[in-house]
Amino acid sequence: MFRKLLSHIGKYKKFAVMTPIFAALEVFMETLIPYITASLIDEGVSAGNMGAIYRYGGLMLAVAFLSLAFAILAGRFAANASTGFAYNLRDAMFRKVQTYSFANIDRFSTGGLITRLTTDVNNIQNAFQMSIRMAVRAPLTLISSMFMCFVTNVRISLFFLGALVVLASVLVFFMRKVTKIFEQVFKKYDLLNADVQENVSGIRVVKAYVREEYENEKFDKAARVLYDYSVRAEKIMALAGPVMNLVIYALIIMISWFGANFIVAGDMTTGNLTSFFSYIMTCLMSLMMLVAIFVMLTMSLASGRRIVEVLDEVPAIADPDEPVTEVADGSIDFTDVYFSYKEGGGDPVLRDIDLHIPSGSTVGIIGGTGSGKTSLVSLISRLYDVSGGSVKVGGVDVRDYDIETLRNKVSVVLQKNVLFAGSILDNLRWGKEDATVEECMAACRAAAADEFIEQMPDGYETHIEQGGANVSGGQKQRLCIARALLKDPKVLILDDSTSAVDTATDARIRKSFRESIPGTTKLIIAQRISSVMDADMIIVMDNGTISGVGSHDELMESSGIYREIYETQTSGGGDFDEPAPGKEA
């Protein structure tokens, strides 16, 4: 997994390599310092030699400056490498997501994908930066300080080494236990946040049912579980400090005793002893650092895994080898189509679909929720691939087309549609990048969107907020239709796209379709019977199969379901007004 992630460093590799090199140089300089200090004390201070003091003092300053210079370089390289790495990861993930088919997108939740691209990348960036700065530095400091200890005095160093090994194993043992508990802590934490989220967005329900107390208790329970787990983890961590102190203190006492003996025996100098103390501190510091890196890497493991999942996902739909780049006409043929959202089995949502739609006709599709209407039209622009049988547009199997060609000619207005932050014109031009203002206006006229746009203070330049938050549901739907019309499609699919538009406007839109795009095949999914009644052909879907096809009159005769829908809706089955903005899914 790490290899997979690291392969994305790319051109920032040189910085990633330079960082530890300069960090190593910095460590080298730093290790020298106590050694020089020792000489300064022994040859300068003890001997009362001012010349030696200046000499060693100067040397020490030079070393300090060099060390600083290396440190600055290492720091800069590290920043460069880690932020570059994060850039590449985000870039790779974003590009990958763009290749996802609908099936891939369904597999990840939207929120999940966003977290992976933001929080997870950030975690990896931090862990990476820490690793390249410290992973070399900490062990190097440890080893070099240890080496200097041995140079100074072998016997004392052996004691020290023993103590260090014990301390390290104790710390690692603690950390392993702790990280396991922390995984639980994070899970509890997510649960708690989900609870808050539900309360914030569902506050009306909470208040309407007077459930404040109940929610408080629920929250308190969740918060207490989080508390219990956190305390369990931190209790272990709280041992680390005292254990560390114990080891330091024991070492000070032992070294003082043996050091005194050696000095008196003439095997050691007082300078040696002072530098010994400082090496010990350095060693322990880098040991702590190593443990911290260990913990951080363990914690970033989950993030890394989530990122790799995104990168490893295989797009379910790809262009064929020799794609067809011309869509002849808007005829649509379904032959023996089976379809299931789950690969290799699962209950089919569409069964045994045979359907032939001539180019230029208007087709209404009607049926209950979950009857397969949306699934049926999704297959036409190859948003999903069939599980069995074939779907043809213009006489060619959709799997043989260049996907972009197909989707430009088969224009879908999705049920769950969104607008993007930008002006109305910007949004319309998603349909056709170089569309002139006149073309945009014409499309809006056809979608009955011109009136309300012209009433807006900035007209076509009106700024749309993210997700289209500042237009009503009906206005949003009409803009989405206009956007789809700009593609000049051979097939236009409206998936319940006028549900928030009042019935009169809905009728106007259908009328303008008849007049302005007579050659385009129009598929209209609707819940309102009035939206489909005048179609050339009406398809009644029921439970994944086509239960009836024909004109309104024919179906009134032949289809029980159709008649039932008609009867529940006529004598007042239409929609009245537009629901409040922002209220639809």
């Binding site: 720091g75 946040n193 049912y209 956190s230 203190y249 049926g367 948003l383 009169a504 089955g573 629901p579």
Partner: protein, 633 residues
């Protein structure tokens, strides 16, 4: 939770940092006063003892080692004795450090628990207006980011601050006592490092500000595009999308590079300034010792001073490295307190809802579940209470309302809903339909006029009791994590399983629930993400049915259900609405046409009212809306 709330606001100004700190400590002291004082003592002791370790180096060399050097028969006994004493002191140090670390775990987490609970329970008391006027993302981030920064503050920054001040003070005194001259050198170097840190820190803050802004931009873009990913696919907009992303991503990279680049050098600068300070003190100290002018300047003194110098400057440097996180914590604490300081919903009502039974034609309060309810109204003058039977009679008299001052939404609303009647509201977006229902349950309070419920001014009814008597089904369903059964029972917590299932049957939800993998025990997560919109709607209707209220408000309750299913639901709804006063907002004619009275709203006024047949005969707005349906039929 990802979202706009996740972005830290680094350039936010905190007005009264000390007051905020004081409040945080107040929370700590409220529950852990004794423990916290013990912790402070333990911290002081630990710092003191660890200082002894440094100071001992001087005594060790001067008093125990140097006198022995050259003696033919050195006596190590005094040294052994000194070390033994030291060992005991150290032993105490280990104990104190354990005490403070261990206690701090409970104090830190306990205070956090306390703060979390307080923020949450206070949030639950806030008026709907607060939620309507604040971004949910930023409310969330109080829980996900800000409370956590407090943890950092309580369990790490505060103790460190205390120990730093103590260590620095004690060290400073020892340093002054050893040598004033050397102390001056040491302080001078600290000043230099402050100046350098200040300069670097200022630039770093700028860069970090830029980084935060760029993170916000990139995250916003990712959010928007991933949420619209299916539209992107349908419009083959992938290439354009990548172009836009690359640009923003590159800006972020370059800003982050500068920010981290400068943050990374802060530590080495301070560290190496420490080395320079070391050399300066060695040089000055030795020069002084050699010149013999200052008495008492021994080799041991210099060595010890060098050690002290380190204990003096290291914590200062570490603390200055923490400044950034302290500033962040302060900003976080500020936001936590801001939500705690929001005024709660006011409730001055004194009329309560009680269970009653009928005895000899009189209402008598009872604890039994009789299915009968009454309003209990205290009479201030006589001191007696009066019971008024709960019937569900709602009237509006000359009601005006505005969400913002001088932006009136409703004008002069007159409304009579006798018990058991069905009142429907129709009209276009923004006409004020939902607003009217928001007034009945007092999510918002009216500006002028009167709303009476069974003849009682609703301002006099306790909000909780008022709301308990109203069932509400909204278009946005909002289910909670838990089983299907839990969600139904949300309507009435003491409902039995049988009652819940009966309600589900009534609302035609039973069928689909039984087909779910675990039936009524199926776990719902993420607002019922595993259900279709229609199924969620059915559950929320069932939830209202279990509550069994005399008045029902259905705000676009069936708009996401297709007409065939709606016909099924409708049956359940009819049995539900029977005998209850019902307010219905809908844009489907089938839902409203059988209402006893239909109100046509336009721009905050009721412009037409009457039954379906009346309104059709009137040939007004309703008629035109109605016939518009069939203009193209």
């Amino acid at each position: 939770m990802p979202g706009p709330g996740n972005r830290m606001k680094i350039d936010e100004k905190v007005e009264h940092p000390f007051r905020i700190l004081g409040r945080v400590l107040g929370f700590v002291m409220r529950r852990y006063a004794v423990a916290f004082i013990v912790v402070i003592i333990a911290i002081l002791a630990t710092s003191y003892i660890s200082l002894q370790g440094t100071l001992f180096q001087q005594t060790l060399i001067d008093d125990y080692i140097l006198p022995l050097v050259g003696t033919p028969d050195p006596d190590f006994a005094p040294l052994a004795g000194a070390l033994l004493t030291l060992a005991m002191i150290f032993g105490a140090g280990v104990v104190t450090s354990f005490i403070y670390n261990r206690l701090m775990v409970n104090i830190g987490n306990g205070t956090l628990l306390d703060i979390r609970n307080r923020v949450f329970s206070h949030m639950e008391t806030l008026p709907i207006r607060y939620f309507d006027t604040h971004q949910h993302g930023s409310i969330m981030s109080v829980y996900t980011n800000d409370v956590d920064t407090l943890r950092q503050l309580i369990s790490s920054s505060v103790p460190e601050f205390i120990s730093t001040i103590f260590t620095v003070t004690i060290t400073f005194i020892s340093m002054v006592r050893m040598s004033l001259m050397l102390t001056l050198v040491s302080v001078l170097m600290i000043v230099v490092s402050f100046v350098v840190t200040g300069i670097v820190g200022k630039r770093s803050a700028q860069y970090f500000g830029a980084q935060q802004r760029n993170i916000a931009a990139v995250n916003g873009y990712i959010e928007e595009m991933i949420q619209g990913q299916k539209v992107v696919k349908v419009f083959c907009h992938e290439e354009k999308n990548i172009e836009g992303f690359v640009e923003k991503n590159e800006e972020l990279r370059s800003a982050a590079k500068s920010a981290h680049g400068i943050a990374n050098i802060l530590m080495p600068i301070n560290g190496n300034l420490g080395h320079i300070s070391y050399v300066l003190i060695a040089v000055v100290g030795c020069a002084m010792a050699l010149s013999g002018e200052s008495a008492g300047m021994t080799l041991g003194t210099i060595v010890a001073f060098l050690g002290l110098n380190r204990s003096f400057s290291r914590p200062i440097h570490q603390l200055s490295g923490q400044i950034n996180s302290i500033v962040l914590a302060m900003a976080g604490a500020n936001r936590v307190f801001k939500i705690m300081d929001e005024p709660s919903e006011v409730d001055e009502g004194d009329v309560t809802l009680v269970r009653v039974k009928e005895e000899n034609g009189e209402l008598v309060e009872t604890g039994e579940r009789t299915g009968l309810w009454a309003w209990k109204r205290p009479n201030w003058e006589s001191g007696e209470t009066e019971l008024i039977k709960l019937q569900g009679d709602v009237t509006f008299h000359e009601v005006d309302f505005e969400y913002r001052e001088n932006h009136p939404i409703l004008h002069d609303i007159e409304l009579f809903a006798p018990p058991g009647q069905k009142i429907a509201f129709v009209g276009s977006t923004g006409a004020g339909k939902t607003t009217i229902t928001n007034l009945i349950n007092r999510f918002y309070d009216i500006a002028d006029g009167k709303i009476r419920y069974d003849g009682i001014n609703i301002n006099h009814i306790k909000k909780a009791d008022l709301r308990r008597s109203l069932g509400i089904v909204l278009q946005e369903t909002n289910l909670f994590t838990g089983t299907v059964m839990d969600n139904i029972r949300y309507g009435r917590l003491d409902a039995t399983d049988e009652e819940c299932i009966a309600a589900a049957k009534l609302c035609n939800a039973d069928g689909f629930i039984r087909r779910l993998p675990d039936g009524y025990q199926t776990m719902l997560t993420g607002d019922g993400a595993n259900l279709s919109q229609g199924q969620r709607q059915l559950l929320s209707i069932t939830r209202a049915a279990v509550a069994d209220p005399p008045v029902l408000i259905l705000d676009e309750a069936t708009s996401s259900i297709d007409t065939r299913t709606e016909a099924l639901v409708q049956k359940g709804m009819y049995s539900l609405m029977k005998g209850r006063t019902t307010f219905v907002i809908a844009h489907r004619l089938s839902t409203v046409r059988d209402a006893d009275c239909i109100m046509v709203l336009e721009k905050g006024r009721i412009i037409e009212r009457g039954s379906h047949d009346d309104l059709i005969a009137k040939k007004g707005k309703y008629y035109s809306l109605y016939t518009g349906n069939f203009a193209e039929g």
